[in-house]
């Protein structure tokens, strides 16, 4: 068995009585772009800070190429990091900021100059060398921060919500840049965000954090198509949950009854929590008809929202649970549809999930 490039083994972090990270286990491949996705307080940032060496775990270990990192202080870990806030040194020019990690490593001047040039080219900020950070926009500052973090060729680059202070348009632009820089440099990136769209757009794999543990790790499509927990199903893509009755289950498939209709062969996830069985449906995977059909859920339209190329139909099932349908604009089933109409909703068993 080969040693994984970066391995997080059973990390736990307690702050007094508060458990910030419960038990995080993770293996990262060299060159991978892995995102920690989760709401605030889910332990994703704490895990990143432990990797950076700003905090020590209460328990567990971090191994880079099979060797523990915990005994090494931050300044010797050789890890790069881009922070949420702007952390360029305000008294230094852009060029001197990028040169800083090289100067403290006492590299010869010609090498530093060449590297600074290379980094400025990488983040497409040639000619900005003599500017002070205060003279640059937030997006430009974060690109310089990226250049500074990559200047010393770190094996791992940590990014802690680096785009959260930027507006949406700029954010997408820099996401693009980050993606390009990742492909160009092949550096291993661990990226923290609470924005699922950002995670899906950037990452090779996503680790979904919830309450101090990783609920599931996988590629975006894997998490979307096969969520392991209700939390992941809610966090990646849109979803509705209907309480249902388990009639039969075998080999990871379930037969359930909802509002009088019976659905069989639905993928089943045993979560071990006693929340009762729930059927998860995605709005874009539902079909809608105006006539009653077999194997369909009866519902009443409560609202119709036009969203550009999509139309969002909010309905309410007979038991009063909300259930949304998203259909392309101009779909025949919704022409003339109005609030209060009765509709019948169907889905393919494989696109739904039962959580028990």
């Amino acid at each position: 068995m080969t040693t994984p490039f970066l391995k997080i083994e059973g990390i736990r972090k307690e702050y007094g009585p508060v458990v910030a990270v419960q038990d995080v286990n993770l293996e990262v491949e060299r060159g991978e772009f892995l995102t920690f996705l989760g709401p605030s307080g889910s332990g994703k940032s704490t895990t990143l800070y432990i990797l950076a060496g700003f905090d020590n775990p209460t328990r567990g270990d971090i191994k880079l190429n099979g060797k523990t990192l915990l005994a090494t202080p931050s300044q010797k870990r050789n890890i790069g990091m881009v922070f949420q806030r702007y952390t360029l040194f305000p008294h230094l020019s852009v060029g001197d900021n990028i040169a800083f990690p090289l100067k403290v490593r006492r590299l010869p001047k010609h090498q530093i100059d060449a590297k600074v040039k290379e980094m400025l080219r990488l983040v497409r900020l040639e000619g900005f060398e003599d500017r002070k950070p205060a003279q640059m926009s937030g997006g430009q500052q974060q690109r310089v921060a990226l250049a500074r973090a990559l200047a010393y060729d770190p094996p791992v680059l940590l990014m802690d919500e680096p785009l959260s202070a930027l507006d949406k348009k700029l954010r997408e632009e820099i996401q693009h840049e980050i993606r390009r820089i990742h492909q160009q440099t092949e550096v291993t990136i661990l990226y923290v965000t609470h924005d699922q769209e950002e995670a899906l757009r950037l990452s090779d794999r996503i680790a979904v954090f919830s309450k101090g543990v990783i609920d599931q790790i996988g590629t975006g499509p894997e998490l979307y198509a096969n969520p392991a927990t209700r939390f992941v199903a809610q966090f990646i893509g849109d979803s509705d949950f209907l309480p249902c009755q388990m009639l039969h289950s075998a080999n990871g498939r379930a037969t359930v009854s909802v509002g009088g209709a019976v659905f069989s062969d639905v993928p089943l996830h045993e979560t071990g929590k006693s929340e009762g069985a729930a059927l998860m449906l995605r709005p874009e995977r539902l079909s809608l008809t105006r006539e009653p059909l077999q194997q369909r859920l009866a519902a009443t339209v409560s609202d119709i929202t036009f969203l550009g190329n999509n139309v969002h139909v909010a309905t309410s099932t007979l038991s009063g649970d909300p259930l949304s349908v998203r259909l392309p604009f101009g779909h025949p089933a919704i022409s003339g549809l109005s609030r209060g109409d009765s509709v019948w909703l169907g889905f393919e068993a494989a696109s739904a999930h039962v959580f028990n």
Binding site: F100, K132, R148, Y152
Partner: protein
């Protein structure tokens, strides 16, 4: 966005602000500027019109020594205050705020204690049979008591103590404004503690240090009580000299001339400070 409340023009606001500062300006003019001008006039009019007071003041080695003492002591007090004040301000800034509040209370309490009382306390501590000399002799570090008072050493010690809060408070403010993430970034960039201090932290605290240092230096130049009590008769400072001209020698001309020299130096330094603070707000975040 249209505003429905009519906002007063900037010029009007400025005029109003000016009007509200008028009483203070009048007060200053009446009780500060007029007497100062009167004193300065006397420096060129007494005993007869001319610059002879200035010629005497700047031409005599006795008086030049007083100027030298004044600048020397002020400079040493400023440097020592900075050296002691920086670690204190830094510790205060990173200390849990509950503890910092206690230290601040002690600092302020000492500032609010009567200056004379504090200076006499230093006399007791520093005199030949005082606590410090007794302790040093008890430890066997010295054979005979050090002359710590009635000379410039005593003045420097006493004034450093009094000036420390004026360094610590602005420095504390500057250090608190530095985002800890900047120092974390420096550490991850590979900077060890010394490099983080000299390449990041110190440069970022320069505005606070400059503000505090100039304040202390300028205050020290004109300080009277501490030099008068802890200093000796042979090594005078400028404020003592002015007091002597006016009170003992009743020579208003020389006193006025010395006061003008002090005022000019102070204003020049104030202009330097304005320039530095101006640059900071221009380039700062």
């Amino acid at each position: 966005m249209p505003s429905f409340v009519a906002l007063p023009e900037v010029a009007t606001v400025k005029r109003r602000e000016f009007r509200s500062t008028l009483p203070a300006l009048l007060f200053l003019a009446l009780f500060f500027v007029v007497p100062v001008i009167a004193l300065l006039l006397r420096s060129v009019l007494e005993p007869q019109p001319g610059l002879q007071n200035y010629v005497e003041l700047l031409g005599s080695s006795t008086y030049l020594k007083v100027f030298f003492n004044t600048f020397m002591v002020s400079a040493v007090v400023t440097i020592v205050s900075l050296t002691i004040g920086f670690p204190v301000a830094w510790t205060l800034a990173i200390m849990p705020s509950r503890w910092a509040a206690i230290v601040f209370a002690i600092l302020l309490l000492s500032m609010w204690t009567n200056l004379l009382a504090r200076t006499y306390a230093w006399m007791v501590l520093l005199q030949r049979t005082g606590l410090i000399n007794k302790m040093l002799m008890g430890m066997g570090l010295i054979d005979k008591p050090l002359a710590l008072v009635n000379n410039l050493t005593g003045v420097t010690i006493g004034m450093t103590y009094i000036m420390l809060p004026f360094i610590i408070l602005p420095l504390y403010g500057t250090i608190r404004k530095i985002d800890p993430a900047i120092l974390q970034a420096a550490a991850l960039c590979g900077a060890n503690r010394w490099q983080a201090l000299t390449r990041v932290l110190l440069p970022l605290t320069v505005p606070g240090m400059a503000a505090g240092a100039l304040m202390v230096f300028v205050m020290s130049l004109g300080y009277f009580v501490t030099p008068a009590l802890l200093g000796g008769t042979s090594n005078m400072m400028l404020a003592e000299l002015i007091a002597q001209f006016v009170q003992s020698l009743v020579n208003w001309g020389m006193g006025g001339a010395a006061a003008l020299v002090l005022l000019v130096v102070t204003l020049a330094l104030y202009a330097v400070q304005l320039r530095i603070v101006g640059n900071e707000s221009e380039g700062g975040r």
